[in-house]
């Protein structure tokens, strides 16, 4: 084999690798977030960020503080397993102390939905459906309305007189 006298090609290669190595390390330090690898191969700061989200549903116990009459009634009747916010919507704005966010006594958004549109809310649980167990109270809405002489497509039913006028939400059983 011939003797090699000039190693400059090897030196150039090493210098090139050195430059690439240093560049990669600099970029890695700059662009990978500081908390990456704190607990595992993910950005550690994100755990606390996710934990810090504000909760929107505050739970039925909170409603009792101001609405105790309605709460006592609700808790003694058939709908007691349906939380307040399931029908009335999330209450975080309603109880918020920050008056810049929303007026303090704003009605939870679904309450208006109930007065005019209870026919949509109530049927989501109580429309007769073969997927629902027989023990669950359900009614074929069309037949129910026919029996009462009402038309499901009428303005009357859609906006004025529907489920809640007879079946009160907090005390659904009529008799």
């Amino acid at each position: 084999m011939a003797k090699i006298n000039d190693y400059s090609h090897v030196i150039r290669l090493f210098i090139l690798l050195l430059i690439i190595g240093v560049t990669l390390l600099v970029l890695r330090n700059r662009y990978i977030p500081g908390t990456f690898g704190q607990y595992g191969t993910y950005r550690g700061a994100s755990v606390e960020e996710i934990r810090a989200s504000k909760k929107k549903f505050i739970g039925s116990q909170m409603c009792k503080m101001c609405h105790s009459d309605a709460w006592e009634l609700w808790d003694s009747q058939a709908h007691k397993n349906v939380s307040c916010e399931t029908c009335h919507g999330s209450a975080y704005k309603h109880v918020s102390m920050d008056s810049k966010v929303e007026p303090k006594l704003s009605i939870p958004k679904n309450a208006d939905f109930l007065k005019g549109n209870s026919h949509k809310l109530c049927v989501s649980c109580h429309e007769k459906n073969p997927g629902r167990p027989e023990s669950h109270p359900q009614v074929n809405v069309k037949e129910h309305l026919d029996r009462l002489g009402m038309d499901p497509d009428s303005e009357m039913y859609q906006n004025v007189f529907n489920c809640v006028q007879c079946h009160k939400g907090h005390k659904p059983a009529m008799f």
């Binding site: 993910y42 989200s53 929107k56 549903f57 073969p130």
Partner: protein, 264 residues
């Protein structure tokens, strides 16, 4: 000149190697310093994630298909109608043994203004049996989704919840493809993958996820698997609780009771 040349070359090589390895040394020592301090979650309110391990039991027999859980989740987690972190599927078995599986549609997928979010009543004529199955992310112990993320944007916490770090997601969609339960979806607003987080911001403060609180029949039971008095452990001990697609080895932590054989 040979000795001088040799020493010069050594000096250059040593400088080069020193430069190269100093970068490595800085990195290694930095990460070692961090990991020593923090296997415990650093927090202000004293929550220790090593003491909890969350799971859920779902009972499709109790589900009435009211979609309250979907509405509550959508509200709590700011998802609206872009996708579903949790959803309720409807299984219809006809008299001639056909199985029809329907899932709710998002607003973008719906064709009619009223048929998104809630499934309209079934028009199938020969129904033998029909039931609803609530579904959500199973927060698998061996989750495929956390293994495939190329940027480490999804991970499993020490308390067993699989979370997504939204700012880090680059949108490759690999995790969405990899989930065998279809729990992940592409969020068109935040431009990242999105999925159920077990309401991590609620459960780490002792509350239940929004869907569990909203369910009127108690079809969803949530709790700490490490706590023998929790509702979820009691529900599992009653027997018959199994995860979906067990043969895939994902070890899901959402267990279903009285699972009918048609459920996938």
């Amino acid at each position: 000149m040979k000795r001088r040349e040799f020493l010069e070359k050594c000096a250059k090589a040593a400088t080069g190697a020193g430069l190269m390895f100093s970068g490595v040394a800085v990195n290694v020592s930095a990460s070692a310093g961090l990991s020593k301090s923090s296997k415990k979650l650093i927090n202000q309110d004293g929550y220790d994630w090593n003491k909890h391990y969350y799971g859920m039991v779902v009972n499709p027999d109790k589900c009435i298909g009211c979609y309250s859980c979907m509405r509550a989740c959508s509200d709590e987690n700011d998802v609206q109608d872009r996708g579903f972190r949790t959803w309720v599927e409807r299984y219809t078995i006809t008299k001639d043994d056909k199985v029809i599986i329907e899932s709710p549609k998002t607003r973008d997928q719906s064709t009619d203004k009223d048929d998104y979010f809630q499934l309209p009543p079934s028009k199938e004529p020969n129904i033998e049996r029909q039931f609803f199955v609530p579904k959500l992310c199973n927060h698998c112990t061996d989750a495929p989704c956390t293994q495939v993320c190329p940027v480490g944007a999804t991970y499993k916490t020490n308390d067993g919840v699989v979370l997504i770090d939204h700012p880090s997601c680059v949108g490759c969609g690999y995790c969405i493809q990899s989930c065998p339960y279809g729990a992940r979806f592409w969020d068109t607003n935040y431009l990242c993958a999105n999925k159920c987080s077990f309401c991590y911001h609620r459960v780490t403060k002792g509350l239940n996820p929004a869907c569990v609180d909203a369910c009127p029949t108690g079809a969803r039971v949530f709790g700490d698997l490490k706590d023998p008095e929790s509702a979820v452990v009691k529900a599992i001990r009653e027997g018959g609780a199994k995860g979906l697609k067990r043969s895939l080895g994902t070890k899901p932590k959402v267990f279903y009771k009285n699972l009918s054989q048609e459920v996938v």
